[in-house]
Protein backbone atom coordinates (compact mmCIF):
# COMPACT_ATOMS: atom_id res chain seq x y z
CA UNK A 1 0.00 0.00 0.00
CA UNK A 2 1.22 3.51 -0.77
CA UNK A 3 2.23 5.79 2.04
CA UNK A 4 0.14 8.94 1.86
CA UNK A 5 2.04 11.93 0.66
CA UNK A 6 2.84 14.55 3.29
CA UNK A 7 0.46 17.12 1.80
CA UNK A 8 -2.42 14.85 2.70
CA UNK A 9 -1.39 14.20 6.25
CA UNK A 10 -3.75 15.00 9.06
CA UNK A 11 -4.02 16.58 12.47
CA UNK A 12 -0.48 17.56 13.32
CA UNK A 13 0.97 16.61 9.97
CA UNK A 14 0.02 19.84 8.27
CA UNK A 15 -3.69 20.36 8.89
CA UNK A 16 -4.68 22.82 11.59
CA UNK A 17 -7.08 21.32 14.14
CA UNK A 18 -10.61 22.55 13.50
CA UNK A 19 -10.04 22.74 9.73
CA UNK A 20 -10.94 20.31 6.97
CA UNK A 21 -8.40 17.59 6.24
CA UNK A 22 -8.84 18.03 2.50
CA UNK A 23 -11.59 18.60 -0.06
CA UNK A 24 -15.25 17.94 0.38
CA UNK A 25 -17.54 20.50 1.95
CA UNK A 26 -16.90 23.83 0.23
CA UNK A 27 -20.48 24.81 1.03
CA UNK A 28 -19.88 24.74 4.79
CA UNK A 29 -17.84 27.43 6.47
CA UNK A 30 -16.20 26.40 9.73
CA UNK A 31 -13.77 29.24 10.23
CA UNK A 32 -13.10 30.27 13.79
CA UNK A 33 -15.77 28.15 15.37
CA UNK A 34 -15.08 28.17 19.11
CA UNK A 35 -15.80 24.48 19.82
CA UNK A 36 -13.21 21.71 20.06
CA UNK A 37 -13.15 18.10 18.91
CA UNK A 38 -11.55 15.53 21.17
CA UNK A 39 -11.48 12.06 19.66
CA UNK A 40 -10.89 8.85 21.56
CA UNK A 41 -9.74 6.02 19.31
CA UNK A 42 -9.03 2.43 19.99
CA UNK A 43 -10.21 -0.97 18.95
CA UNK A 44 -13.38 -2.68 20.19
CA UNK A 45 -13.55 -3.43 23.90
CA UNK A 46 -10.59 -1.31 24.92
CA UNK A 47 -12.72 0.87 27.19
CA UNK A 48 -13.27 4.02 25.15
CA UNK A 49 -16.88 4.47 26.12
CA UNK A 50 -16.19 4.30 29.86
CA UNK A 51 -13.41 6.84 29.52
CA UNK A 52 -15.63 9.20 27.55
CA UNK A 53 -18.39 8.98 30.15
CA UNK A 54 -15.95 9.85 32.94
CA UNK A 55 -14.30 12.60 30.96
CA UNK A 56 -17.63 14.15 30.11
CA UNK A 57 -18.60 14.19 33.77
CA UNK A 58 -15.38 15.94 34.67
CA UNK A 59 -15.64 18.50 31.88
CA UNK A 60 -19.23 19.37 32.75
CA UNK A 61 -18.35 19.83 36.41
CA UNK A 62 -15.72 22.28 35.23
CA UNK A 63 -18.35 24.17 33.24
CA UNK A 64 -17.70 23.03 29.68
CA UNK A 65 -20.60 22.15 27.40
CA UNK A 66 -20.13 18.65 26.03
CA UNK A 67 -21.67 16.83 23.07
CA UNK A 68 -20.92 13.18 22.38
CA UNK A 69 -20.86 11.55 19.00
CA UNK A 70 -20.33 7.89 18.28
CA UNK A 71 -19.64 5.75 15.26
CA UNK A 72 -22.67 4.61 13.18
CA UNK A 73 -25.15 6.45 15.34
CA UNK A 74 -26.67 8.80 12.81
CA UNK A 75 -30.46 8.61 12.55
CA UNK A 76 -30.11 8.58 8.78
CA UNK A 77 -27.78 5.63 8.43
CA UNK A 78 -27.87 3.52 11.58
CA UNK A 79 -30.87 1.38 10.44
CA UNK A 80 -29.37 0.79 7.00
CA UNK A 81 -25.99 -0.17 8.42
CA UNK A 82 -27.60 -2.63 10.82
CA UNK A 83 -29.65 -4.11 8.01
CA UNK A 84 -26.67 -4.35 5.69
CA UNK A 85 -24.56 -6.02 8.35
CA UNK A 86 -27.21 -8.62 9.06
CA UNK A 87 -27.93 -9.38 5.41
CA UNK A 88 -24.28 -10.06 4.57
CA UNK A 89 -24.28 -8.27 1.25
CA UNK A 90 -21.63 -5.71 2.08
CA UNK A 91 -18.43 -5.60 0.14
CA UNK A 92 -15.42 -3.59 1.21
CA UNK A 93 -16.40 -0.50 -0.76
CA UNK A 94 -20.03 -0.34 0.27
CA UNK A 95 -18.94 -1.03 3.86
CA UNK A 96 -16.58 1.95 3.75
CA UNK A 97 -19.05 4.22 1.96
CA UNK A 98 -21.94 3.52 4.34
CA UNK A 99 -19.71 4.47 7.26
CA UNK A 100 -18.58 7.61 5.46
CA UNK A 101 -22.19 8.57 4.88
CA UNK A 102 -23.00 8.02 8.53
CA UNK A 103 -20.04 10.18 9.48
CA UNK A 104 -21.04 12.93 7.04
CA UNK A 105 -24.52 13.01 8.50
CA UNK A 106 -23.21 13.34 12.04
CA UNK A 107 -20.58 15.86 10.99
CA UNK A 108 -23.08 18.22 9.40
CA UNK A 109 -25.97 17.68 11.80
CA UNK A 110 -24.19 17.24 15.12
CA UNK A 111 -20.50 18.05 15.11
CA UNK A 112 -20.41 21.29 13.10
CA UNK A 113 -23.41 22.86 14.89
CA UNK A 114 -21.83 21.92 18.24
CA UNK A 115 -18.50 23.48 17.25
CA UNK A 116 -20.28 26.61 16.17
CA UNK A 117 -22.03 26.84 19.54
CA UNK A 118 -18.78 26.37 21.43
CA UNK A 119 -19.23 22.82 22.69
CA UNK A 120 -16.53 20.27 23.26
CA UNK A 121 -17.32 17.34 20.99
CA UNK A 122 -16.23 14.03 22.44
CA UNK A 123 -15.98 11.58 19.58
CA UNK A 124 -16.16 7.91 20.47
CA UNK A 125 -14.08 6.79 17.47
CA UNK A 126 -13.37 9.11 14.58
CA UNK A 127 -12.30 8.69 10.97
CA UNK A 128 -9.25 6.68 12.06
CA UNK A 129 -11.51 3.72 12.82
CA UNK A 130 -12.78 3.87 9.25
CA UNK A 131 -9.27 4.16 7.86
CA UNK A 132 -8.04 1.21 9.93
CA UNK A 133 -10.96 -1.03 8.98
CA UNK A 134 -10.64 -0.12 5.32
CA UNK A 135 -6.89 -0.72 5.43
CA UNK A 136 -7.35 -4.20 6.87
CA UNK A 137 -9.79 -4.99 4.06
CA UNK A 138 -7.37 -3.87 1.37
CA UNK A 139 -8.97 -0.58 0.38
CA UNK A 140 -6.51 1.84 -1.22
CA UNK A 141 -5.00 4.00 1.51
CA UNK A 142 -4.86 7.16 -0.60
CA UNK A 143 -8.45 6.78 -1.67
CA UNK A 144 -9.80 6.42 1.85
CA UNK A 145 -7.81 9.44 3.05
CA UNK A 146 -9.15 11.57 0.20
CA UNK A 147 -12.66 10.28 0.89
CA UNK A 148 -12.44 11.60 4.45
CA UNK A 149 -11.04 14.91 3.22
CA UNK A 150 -14.39 16.42 4.24
CA UNK A 151 -13.73 15.57 7.90
CA UNK A 152 -12.55 18.17 10.38
CA UNK A 153 -9.18 17.56 12.02
CA UNK A 154 -9.71 17.06 15.77
CA UNK A 155 -7.90 19.20 18.31
CA UNK A 156 -6.81 16.15 20.27
CA UNK A 157 -6.76 12.48 19.36
CA UNK A 158 -6.20 9.94 22.11
CA UNK A 159 -5.44 6.38 21.19
CA UNK A 160 -6.07 3.65 23.75
CA UNK A 161 -3.39 1.14 22.94
CA UNK A 162 -3.67 -2.54 23.81
CA UNK A 163 -2.31 -5.83 22.47
CA UNK A 164 -4.55 -8.42 20.83
CA UNK A 165 -4.19 -11.02 23.61
CA UNK A 166 -5.12 -8.68 26.44
CA UNK A 167 -7.98 -7.43 24.32
CA UNK A 168 -9.27 -10.94 23.63
CA UNK A 169 -9.39 -11.70 27.37
CA UNK A 170 -11.19 -8.45 28.12
CA UNK A 171 -13.78 -8.89 25.39
CA UNK A 172 -14.47 -12.48 26.47
CA UNK A 173 -15.01 -11.33 30.07
CA UNK A 174 -17.44 -8.70 28.94
CA UNK A 175 -19.83 -10.79 26.91
CA UNK A 176 -17.98 -12.40 24.06
CA UNK A 177 -16.79 -11.79 20.55
CA UNK A 178 -19.13 -10.54 17.87
CA UNK A 179 -19.10 -11.45 14.22
CA UNK A 180 -17.96 -8.03 13.02
CA UNK A 181 -15.48 -7.34 15.80
CA UNK A 182 -13.89 -10.62 14.85
CA UNK A 183 -13.64 -9.71 11.20
CA UNK A 184 -15.57 -12.87 10.30
CA UNK A 185 -16.65 -11.10 7.09
CA UNK A 186 -13.05 -11.49 5.94
CA UNK A 187 -13.51 -15.25 6.00
CA UNK A 188 -10.11 -16.11 7.35
CA UNK A 189 -11.56 -19.19 9.06
CA UNK A 190 -14.44 -20.50 11.13
CA UNK A 191 -12.76 -20.23 14.50
CA UNK A 192 -13.99 -16.98 16.00
CA UNK A 193 -11.18 -16.71 18.55
CA UNK A 194 -8.46 -17.09 15.91
CA UNK A 195 -10.31 -14.79 13.59
CA UNK A 196 -10.72 -12.20 16.35
CA UNK A 197 -7.00 -12.24 17.11
CA UNK A 198 -5.93 -12.11 13.48
CA UNK A 199 -8.37 -9.33 12.70
CA UNK A 200 -7.63 -7.24 15.77
CA UNK A 201 -3.90 -7.67 15.23
CA UNK A 202 -4.13 -6.27 11.72
CA UNK A 203 -6.35 -3.47 13.00
CA UNK A 204 -3.80 -2.60 15.67
CA UNK A 205 -1.13 -2.51 13.00
CA UNK A 206 -3.20 -0.03 11.01
CA UNK A 207 -3.70 2.19 14.07
CA UNK A 208 0.00 2.07 14.84
CA UNK A 209 0.79 3.15 11.30
CA UNK A 210 -1.49 6.17 11.67
CA UNK A 211 -0.09 7.24 15.01
CA UNK A 212 2.60 9.56 13.66
CA UNK A 213 0.67 10.64 10.63
CA UNK A 214 -2.23 11.99 12.67
CA UNK A 215 -0.47 12.83 15.92
CA UNK A 216 -2.13 10.33 18.24
CA UNK A 217 -1.56 10.75 21.97
CA UNK A 218 -1.03 7.24 23.27
CA UNK A 219 -2.73 5.98 26.40
CA UNK A 220 -1.78 2.57 27.77
CA UNK A 221 -5.02 0.57 27.57
CA UNK A 222 -3.88 -2.09 30.03
CA UNK A 223 -3.72 0.37 32.90
CA UNK A 224 -6.64 0.72 35.29
CA UNK A 225 -9.66 2.78 34.32
CA UNK A 226 -8.75 5.38 36.92
CA UNK A 227 -5.14 5.65 35.87
CA UNK A 228 -6.13 6.15 32.23
CA UNK A 229 -8.77 8.70 33.18
CA UNK A 230 -6.31 10.65 35.28
CA UNK A 231 -3.88 10.90 32.37
CA UNK A 232 -6.68 11.84 30.01
CA UNK A 233 -7.89 14.62 32.31
CA UNK A 234 -4.38 15.94 32.78
CA UNK A 235 -3.77 16.27 29.04
CA UNK A 236 -7.23 17.59 28.21
CA UNK A 237 -7.01 20.06 31.09
CA UNK A 238 -3.67 21.33 29.89
CA UNK A 239 -4.96 21.78 26.36
CA UNK A 240 -8.10 23.62 27.45
CA UNK A 241 -6.17 25.93 29.77
CA UNK A 242 -3.96 26.88 26.86
CA UNK A 243 -6.98 27.49 24.63
CA UNK A 244 -8.81 29.50 27.28
CA UNK A 245 -5.75 31.66 27.89
CA UNK A 246 -5.42 32.25 24.14
CA UNK A 247 -9.11 33.19 23.97
CA UNK A 248 -8.62 35.75 26.75
CA UNK A 249 -5.71 37.31 24.88
CA UNK A 250 -7.83 37.56 21.72
CA UNK A 251 -10.70 39.39 23.46
Amino acid sequence: MNAPDPAERGAHGGVTPGHFFGHGLPYVSINDYPGKIIAIEGTDGVGRTTQIRLLREWLEVRGYGVVETGWTRSPLMAPTIELAKSSNTLNKLTFVLLYACDFADRLEKEIIPALKAGFIVLADRYIYTAIARAGVRGVDSQWIRRLYGFAIAPHLVFYLKIDADALARRVLQEGGMSYWESGMDMKSGDDIYDSFRTYQRSLLKEYAAMSDEFGFRLLEGRKSINAIQEELRRQVGEFLEGEDAAAVVRT
Partner: protein, 208 residues
Protein backbone atom coordinates in the same frame (compact mmCIF):
# COMPACT_ATOMS: atom_id res chain seq x y z
CA UNK B 1 -23.49 4.44 -20.87
CA UNK B 2 -25.83 7.39 -21.37
CA UNK B 3 -25.95 10.69 -19.54
CA UNK B 4 -28.21 13.71 -19.61
CA UNK B 5 -30.49 15.74 -17.39
CA UNK B 6 -34.04 14.67 -16.54
CA UNK B 7 -36.21 14.95 -19.61
CA UNK B 8 -33.32 14.69 -22.06
CA UNK B 9 -34.79 11.48 -23.45
CA UNK B 10 -31.78 9.33 -22.65
CA UNK B 11 -33.84 6.52 -21.08
CA UNK B 12 -35.98 6.23 -24.20
CA UNK B 13 -32.86 6.16 -26.34
CA UNK B 14 -31.19 3.55 -24.17
CA UNK B 15 -34.17 1.19 -24.31
CA UNK B 16 -34.32 1.53 -28.12
CA UNK B 17 -30.62 0.73 -28.27
CA UNK B 18 -31.17 -2.32 -26.08
CA UNK B 19 -33.91 -3.52 -28.47
CA UNK B 20 -31.58 -3.18 -31.43
CA UNK B 21 -28.68 -4.93 -29.72
CA UNK B 22 -30.87 -7.77 -28.50
CA UNK B 23 -32.42 -8.18 -31.94
CA UNK B 24 -28.95 -8.46 -33.43
CA UNK B 25 -28.16 -11.31 -31.06
CA UNK B 26 -26.18 -9.51 -28.37
CA UNK B 27 -26.72 -10.20 -24.73
CA UNK B 28 -27.55 -6.98 -22.93
CA UNK B 29 -27.87 -5.97 -19.30
CA UNK B 30 -29.43 -2.66 -18.27
CA UNK B 31 -28.66 -0.94 -14.97
CA UNK B 32 -30.15 2.27 -13.62
CA UNK B 33 -28.78 4.96 -11.40
CA UNK B 34 -29.61 4.63 -7.72
CA UNK B 35 -31.44 1.34 -7.93
CA UNK B 36 -29.70 -0.98 -5.48
CA UNK B 37 -31.68 -2.45 -2.62
CA UNK B 38 -28.87 -1.72 -0.19
CA UNK B 39 -29.31 2.02 0.09
CA UNK B 40 -32.94 2.25 -0.93
CA UNK B 41 -34.15 2.41 2.67
CA UNK B 42 -31.77 5.17 3.68
CA UNK B 43 -32.34 7.20 0.52
CA UNK B 44 -36.07 6.89 0.92
CA UNK B 45 -36.07 7.80 4.59
CA UNK B 46 -33.67 10.67 3.99
CA UNK B 47 -35.70 12.01 1.09
CA UNK B 48 -38.96 11.72 2.95
CA UNK B 49 -37.69 13.78 5.83
CA UNK B 50 -35.75 16.02 3.46
CA UNK B 51 -32.85 15.21 5.72
CA UNK B 52 -30.15 14.72 3.11
CA UNK B 53 -27.29 17.17 2.84
CA UNK B 54 -25.34 17.50 -0.42
CA UNK B 55 -22.61 15.34 1.13
CA UNK B 56 -24.81 12.51 2.44
CA UNK B 57 -26.73 12.61 -0.84
CA UNK B 58 -23.46 12.18 -2.70
CA UNK B 59 -22.19 9.37 -0.47
CA UNK B 60 -25.47 7.44 -0.65
CA UNK B 61 -25.30 7.51 -4.43
CA UNK B 62 -21.69 6.40 -4.37
CA UNK B 63 -22.65 3.50 -2.09
CA UNK B 64 -25.41 2.54 -4.48
CA UNK B 65 -22.98 2.69 -7.37
CA UNK B 66 -20.37 0.58 -5.58
CA UNK B 67 -23.04 -2.01 -4.81
CA UNK B 68 -24.27 -2.14 -8.40
CA UNK B 69 -20.73 -2.23 -9.72
CA UNK B 70 -20.06 -5.40 -7.73
CA UNK B 71 -23.36 -7.18 -8.31
CA UNK B 72 -24.76 -5.75 -11.54
CA UNK B 73 -21.99 -4.32 -13.67
CA UNK B 74 -18.83 -6.37 -13.25
CA UNK B 75 -20.39 -9.89 -13.48
CA UNK B 76 -22.17 -9.27 -16.82
CA UNK B 77 -19.00 -7.66 -18.18
CA UNK B 78 -17.03 -10.74 -17.19
CA UNK B 79 -19.63 -12.88 -18.89
CA UNK B 80 -19.04 -10.93 -22.09
CA UNK B 81 -22.36 -9.10 -22.03
CA UNK B 82 -23.00 -5.50 -22.96
CA UNK B 83 -23.90 -3.42 -19.93
CA UNK B 84 -26.09 -0.42 -20.68
CA UNK B 85 -26.01 2.08 -17.85
CA UNK B 86 -28.71 4.70 -17.54
CA UNK B 87 -26.50 7.35 -15.92
CA UNK B 88 -23.03 6.68 -14.61
CA UNK B 89 -20.50 8.37 -12.33
CA UNK B 90 -20.76 11.52 -14.46
CA UNK B 91 -24.24 12.07 -13.06
CA UNK B 92 -22.64 12.36 -9.65
CA UNK B 93 -19.93 14.66 -10.97
CA UNK B 94 -22.62 16.95 -12.38
CA UNK B 95 -25.30 16.85 -9.69
CA UNK B 96 -23.14 16.72 -6.59
CA UNK B 97 -20.96 19.59 -7.74
CA UNK B 98 -24.06 21.60 -8.68
CA UNK B 99 -25.11 21.09 -5.05
CA UNK B 100 -21.80 22.44 -3.79
CA UNK B 101 -19.68 19.33 -3.22
CA UNK B 102 -16.02 19.72 -4.15
CA UNK B 103 -15.31 18.91 -7.80
CA UNK B 104 -12.04 17.07 -7.22
CA UNK B 105 -13.36 15.21 -4.18
CA UNK B 106 -16.23 13.60 -6.06
CA UNK B 107 -13.90 12.57 -8.90
CA UNK B 108 -11.54 10.95 -6.42
CA UNK B 109 -14.50 9.28 -4.74
CA UNK B 110 -15.51 7.50 -7.95
CA UNK B 111 -12.00 6.46 -8.93
CA UNK B 112 -13.07 2.84 -8.27
CA UNK B 113 -15.51 2.96 -11.19
CA UNK B 114 -14.83 1.01 -14.38
CA UNK B 115 -14.28 3.37 -17.30
CA UNK B 116 -17.09 2.92 -19.86
CA UNK B 117 -16.20 1.90 -23.42
CA UNK B 118 -18.70 4.41 -24.75
CA UNK B 119 -20.14 7.41 -22.94
CA UNK B 120 -22.89 9.36 -24.63
CA UNK B 121 -24.27 12.65 -23.41
CA UNK B 122 -27.71 13.82 -24.54
CA UNK B 123 -27.47 17.57 -24.59
CA UNK B 124 -30.75 19.42 -24.29
CA UNK B 125 -31.78 23.01 -23.44
CA UNK B 126 -33.57 23.31 -20.09
CA UNK B 127 -36.80 24.53 -21.67
CA UNK B 128 -37.06 21.44 -23.86
CA UNK B 129 -36.48 19.09 -20.91
CA UNK B 130 -38.98 20.98 -18.76
CA UNK B 131 -41.60 20.86 -21.54
CA UNK B 132 -41.10 17.12 -21.86
CA UNK B 133 -41.35 16.51 -18.15
CA UNK B 134 -44.41 18.72 -17.71
CA UNK B 135 -46.09 17.22 -20.79
CA UNK B 136 -45.78 13.82 -19.11
CA UNK B 137 -47.29 15.49 -16.05
CA UNK B 138 -44.28 14.49 -14.04
CA UNK B 139 -44.46 16.19 -10.69
CA UNK B 140 -41.00 17.64 -10.16
CA UNK B 141 -39.53 15.85 -7.20
CA UNK B 142 -37.94 17.62 -4.25
CA UNK B 143 -34.31 16.62 -4.82
CA UNK B 144 -34.49 16.36 -8.62
CA UNK B 145 -35.70 19.94 -8.68
CA UNK B 146 -32.92 20.93 -6.28
CA UNK B 147 -35.49 22.21 -3.77
CA UNK B 148 -33.17 21.09 -0.94
CA UNK B 149 -30.87 23.95 -1.91
CA UNK B 150 -33.41 26.65 -1.12
CA UNK B 151 -32.72 28.59 -4.33
CA UNK B 152 -36.41 28.99 -4.99
CA UNK B 153 -39.60 27.75 -3.35
CA UNK B 154 -41.15 27.31 -6.77
CA UNK B 155 -40.42 23.81 -8.07
CA UNK B 156 -40.21 24.81 -11.74
CA UNK B 157 -38.00 27.78 -11.04
CA UNK B 158 -35.79 25.73 -8.72
CA UNK B 159 -35.52 22.99 -11.36
CA UNK B 160 -34.40 25.59 -13.85
CA UNK B 161 -31.71 27.00 -11.56
CA UNK B 162 -30.46 23.59 -10.48
CA UNK B 163 -30.44 22.02 -13.93
CA UNK B 164 -28.64 24.97 -15.47
CA UNK B 165 -25.83 24.40 -12.94
CA UNK B 166 -25.95 20.68 -13.79
CA UNK B 167 -25.71 21.49 -17.52
CA UNK B 168 -22.65 23.66 -16.90
CA UNK B 169 -21.00 20.76 -15.08
CA UNK B 170 -21.88 18.34 -17.90
CA UNK B 171 -20.23 20.67 -20.41
CA UNK B 172 -17.08 20.54 -18.35
CA UNK B 173 -17.31 16.73 -18.06
CA UNK B 174 -17.80 16.28 -21.83
CA UNK B 175 -14.43 17.97 -22.42
CA UNK B 176 -12.67 16.35 -19.49
CA UNK B 177 -13.72 12.75 -20.23
CA UNK B 178 -14.36 12.91 -23.95
CA UNK B 179 -18.06 12.05 -23.94
CA UNK B 180 -19.82 11.72 -27.29
CA UNK B 181 -22.57 14.31 -27.56
CA UNK B 182 -25.98 13.75 -29.15
CA UNK B 183 -28.28 16.69 -29.78
CA UNK B 184 -31.32 15.68 -27.76
CA UNK B 185 -33.58 18.35 -29.24
CA UNK B 186 -33.69 16.41 -32.53
CA UNK B 187 -36.26 13.72 -33.30
CA UNK B 188 -36.18 10.40 -31.46
CA UNK B 189 -35.41 8.50 -34.65
CA UNK B 190 -32.54 10.80 -35.61
CA UNK B 191 -31.02 10.52 -32.17
CA UNK B 192 -31.36 6.76 -32.19
CA UNK B 193 -29.61 6.53 -35.56
CA UNK B 194 -26.75 8.57 -34.18
CA UNK B 195 -26.57 6.40 -31.06
CA UNK B 196 -26.59 3.17 -33.08
CA UNK B 197 -23.79 4.52 -35.27
CA UNK B 198 -21.70 5.18 -32.19
CA UNK B 199 -22.45 1.81 -30.59
CA UNK B 200 -22.02 -0.04 -33.90
CA UNK B 201 -18.61 1.51 -34.46
CA UNK B 202 -17.51 0.44 -31.00
CA UNK B 203 -18.77 -3.12 -31.36
CA UNK B 204 -17.14 -3.59 -34.75
CA UNK B 205 -13.78 -2.58 -33.36
CA UNK B 206 -11.96 -5.79 -32.46
CA UNK B 207 -11.66 -6.03 -28.68
CA UNK B 208 -8.18 -6.74 -27.36
Amino acid sequence: MVEGIDGSGKTTQLSLLAKWLTASGRRVFVTEWNSSALVKAATKAGKKQNALTPMTFSLLHATDFADRLLYKIVPPLKAGMIVLADRYAYTAFARDVARGVDRQWVRDLYSFAVKPDLSVYFRVPIDVSLDRLLARRVKLKFYEAGLDMGWSANATESFRIFQSKVLDEYDRIVDEYGLSVIDASRSITEQQRHLRDLAGALLETPQP
